[in-house]
Amino acid sequence: MSKVTWQLGTVVSIVPETPHVKTFTLKLPNWTPHLAGQHYDLRLTAEGGYQAERSYSIASPPEQVGEIALTIELVSDGEVSGYLFEGVGVGDELELRGPIGGYFVWRGLPDAPPLLLVGGGSGVVPLMAMLRHRQGVGVRTPAVLLFSVRTPDEVIYQAELEAMAQADPTFTLLLDYTRQAPASWAGYQRRIDAAMLAEVVGRFATPPQCFVCGPTGLVESVANGLQAAGLPPESILTERFGPTGG
């Protein structure tokens, strides 16, 4: 394992994904290939020396050599996300170290079991890295993304996910709108529950490996529901984020 030291990345693009979410792509002088699901630590330093750090999941696949994409949600009154949204532009430098995390990762091996990804809000970010990596390495094990959002304007990566689902018959995108669905929506429109999970698990011919990422409440109920649907606890990997952050 290479030493995880701080380096200065340069912002090469900033793309708005939703009203409160942006993707920052950074070119790194010491880029190393990451595993889909890993994160980077980002550190801000004030002139007086005060530092604030946050961890952000990598959205890009390891096939995107030399740079990383971090998709970041603006947290209300967030010390770090507030600065990134207001104070950072293309060409600016940011201190980063990574890649970090060896557990919530998908390696994309050819004999991997089918993949069930369940994301809530910006919890979709590490799952997107897995889907992009799956596409990049050409593994065609069946994959389902169950993606829960509150309203239609909160669907991060919507165009790319829909295009991926159209082009790849082994990938299924299931959007779930919990507060307000688009007009004439025929899909899920309630909080993810045990019945929905049993239905989704029923789509797989063999038991899937599950990655669940989102707010604590969603992850708790999804992890419980997947077990109730008959999946063993060791096949369910979770990553939670609380209502705090910044």
């Binding site: 701080w6 946050r54 600065y83 104070g87 201190e95 419980n224 939670r240 984020f241 209502p243």
Partner: protein
Amino acid sequence: MAGFFSNKGFQPKRASNHKLPPGQYETTDFPVLTAGPTPRIPLTQWSFSLEGLVEEPITWSWEEFNKLPQQDFNPDIHCVTKWSKFDTHWRGVSLDTLLAQVKLKPEAKYVVAYCYGGYTTNLPLADLLDGKAFIGHTFESQPLAPEHGGPARLVVPHLYFWKSAKWIQGLRFVADDEPGFWERAGYSMYGDPWKEQRYDTDDEDLASDSNIRL
């Protein structure tokens, strides 16, 4: 390294003067971080054991454990995912109280905390002694919630909070430091927040160990 680089226009938003370890921020709620589903342990099936390098292992039922001398603890806690929470209120049993009930063998130098659900973490024995650690079952006057590690969790507040193993089932005393769940996944063997030992490459002995590790 501070001083060479700063982010133009970045201003701290923090108002409190309470001292934070490097890279941490203060939160007032209690985020959850767990690698898998939350185990549910009925109190009638719960037990806590001390085993390994002890003259005689010991196991307490929930009822027996609650009859042990109970104490209040008000630590600050620091999670490796960057949040710190100040002045938390716990009730539980000090490790000093528990360790007084067994005779450790002289070669016992480290501890593996093992848990319902299969989680493990490793600590030096010395970090559990002299009021530095407890088994907590009550948080802010309520039974500790399952997602925070209830019925009971180990609490070692001077180390990053992943060392404070949730759903604790027992402590195994060992002679050598054995990496636990997160430690095998690249996290620090010790986890001192004040030295910012988050990952294994932050550990102080890395330089001398590096030939072996590679």
